[in-house]
């Protein structure tokens, strides 16, 4: 009995070790992962360089925290101010623009708050506010959440005092938030990529889009080995260069779901 158990353990041992394999850990966000972008483009990078990119997809706040702890080699999130702070604090070597898309306001097709009639994003948000319509917020300090807060601020109002009434904070990822919007017939702010890839749209539709304030920029950072010596800064650097270079940018542009492009490459060409 004991011998059997030991031989099983020995058999499984090799699959447990992580060392010696050629990989980097990329801390990124659930929205990027759920869009399917990584599944599409990362194999191309691996094929070229032999470096596997392992994606840990969490909320932006957690990704930044993990990166500060040194639990990763590169960072790809969409919260520019936080990213720049991250580099300034010495945790990252440098930050670069990679790609962008935009945020959209989705809501029930009946649109009782008349969001779709708004001329600007301030109008849209004011309409929701005025109608006391259900609004589902990420409530988790993510890139999307911070963008949402900026947009509320533009319309001159802070909704958090109504938390629990018509303003609902899920503290969850975009998917869970969209699920709730779908189930409750509420409005929410989402990035376009997640929206297009989302499979439970139900009665929800895009009701407002295109305002310049709804621009959503993604950035990539290589972690600083001076802070955490175990960081694979060389391989991470290769990844960053590939992403920002012609090949990576082309792959990003080529990625489509239902014929629609989800991300628009905008790295500064060197």
């Amino acid at each position: 009995m004991l011998r059997w158990a030991l031989s099983v353990l020995v058999f499984l041992m090799p699959t447990f070790a992580a060392a010696d394999e050629n990989f980097i850990i990329l801390q990124s966000t659930t929205s990027t992962q759920n869009s399917g972008l990584f599944t599409a483009i990362l194999p191309k990078f691996e094929h070229e360089t032999g470096i596997e990119v392992r994606v840990v997809a969490v909320g932006t706040g957690q990704a930044l925290r993990n990166a500060r702890n040194g639990d990763g080699d590169a960072l790809l999130v969409h919260s520019k101010a936080d990213e720049e702070q991250f580099v300034e604090d010495g945790f990252g070597i440098a930050r670069s623009d990679v790609m962008y898309n935009d945020f959209v306001v989705v809501g029930p097709s009946a649109d009782l708050a008349n969001v779709s009639d708004g001329k600007s994003v301030e109008d849209a948000f004011s309409a929701i506010l005025g109608a006391n319509a259900k609004f589902i917020s990420r409530g988790d300090d993510s890139g999307t959440h911070k963008a949402e807060m900026r947009l509320w601020a533009l319309s001159g109002y802070g909704p958090t005092s109504h938390s629990g009434q018509w303003y609902i904070e899920t503290g969850s990822g975009m998917g869970a938030t969209l699920n709730m919007a779908s189930a409750l017939g509420g409005y929410t702010l989402t990035d376009r990529a997640t929206w297009i890839a989302f499979a439970n749209k139900g009665d929800l539709k895009i009701l407002f889009e295109g305002d310049a304030h709804m621009f959503n920029q993604y950035g990539v950072i290589v972690l600083n080995p001076a802070v955490h010596p175990a960081v694979k800064s060389y391989e991470a650097g290769l990844f960053s260069e590939w992403l920002l270079g012609a090949k990576g940018q082309a792959e990003i542009a080529e990625y489509k779901v239902d014929g629609q492009q989800l991300f628009f490459p905008n790295a500064i060409s060197r």
Binding site: N34, V55, N66, N69, A199
Partner: protein
Amino acid sequence: MTDFGDSLQLAMGLILSGDESLWAIVFLSLKVSLTAVAIAGLIGMPFGAFLAVMRFPGRGALVVVVNALMGLPPVVVGLSVYLMLSASGPFGVLQLLYTPSAMIVAQVLLVLPIVAALSRQVVEELYGEYREQFLSLGVAGLRTIPTLLWEGRFGLMTALLAGVGRAIAEVGAVMIVGGNINHVTRVMTTTIALETSKGDLGMALALGVVLIVLAISINVAMSLAARSSARYAYA
């Protein structure tokens, strides 16, 4: 709307088609959880028996603590293990984070109290039955433990199955310490969470059905294994 019937069909299709990526995930789930339960069993069963048989100051308090730890929230365990294994943490040098090994560590911590507490219960009842006879035969103290563990093998198997159930069904711990990395640390429960967050509720439910079928299969397999050695236990 998500139709349960549709999901059931989808689940059957997934199982029968031998979908490769699904089986890779199933295999990883089994590897992680069964290994964790095996380790927890090797530690927890003797420890539970020790608690049942030995008397020492503070024993009562220790029993209460072990019982209480059965209710450890998986997400708390996950967070704690993450902090231990993080590059900024005390065991960062081991580079175990985001590997199946980290998931096993977390699940061992989750399952250990269950196995220990239930083992203690089983052995304590047996000990009540055998105590005088053992004393009379000259079997005392720690020497009773191996015998009692073997005598109680059926109750102990139930304890292990309870551990397997807990391990294979939890998502909080493995999500944080494993990172749900595709092809590396993605197991059944984290896949279900992922599909749910993608809004693909039908698929998530189908995977849930597969997970239940998996759990039932494990229980059936262990019962059959036990049946063959049941000859000597009961009339």
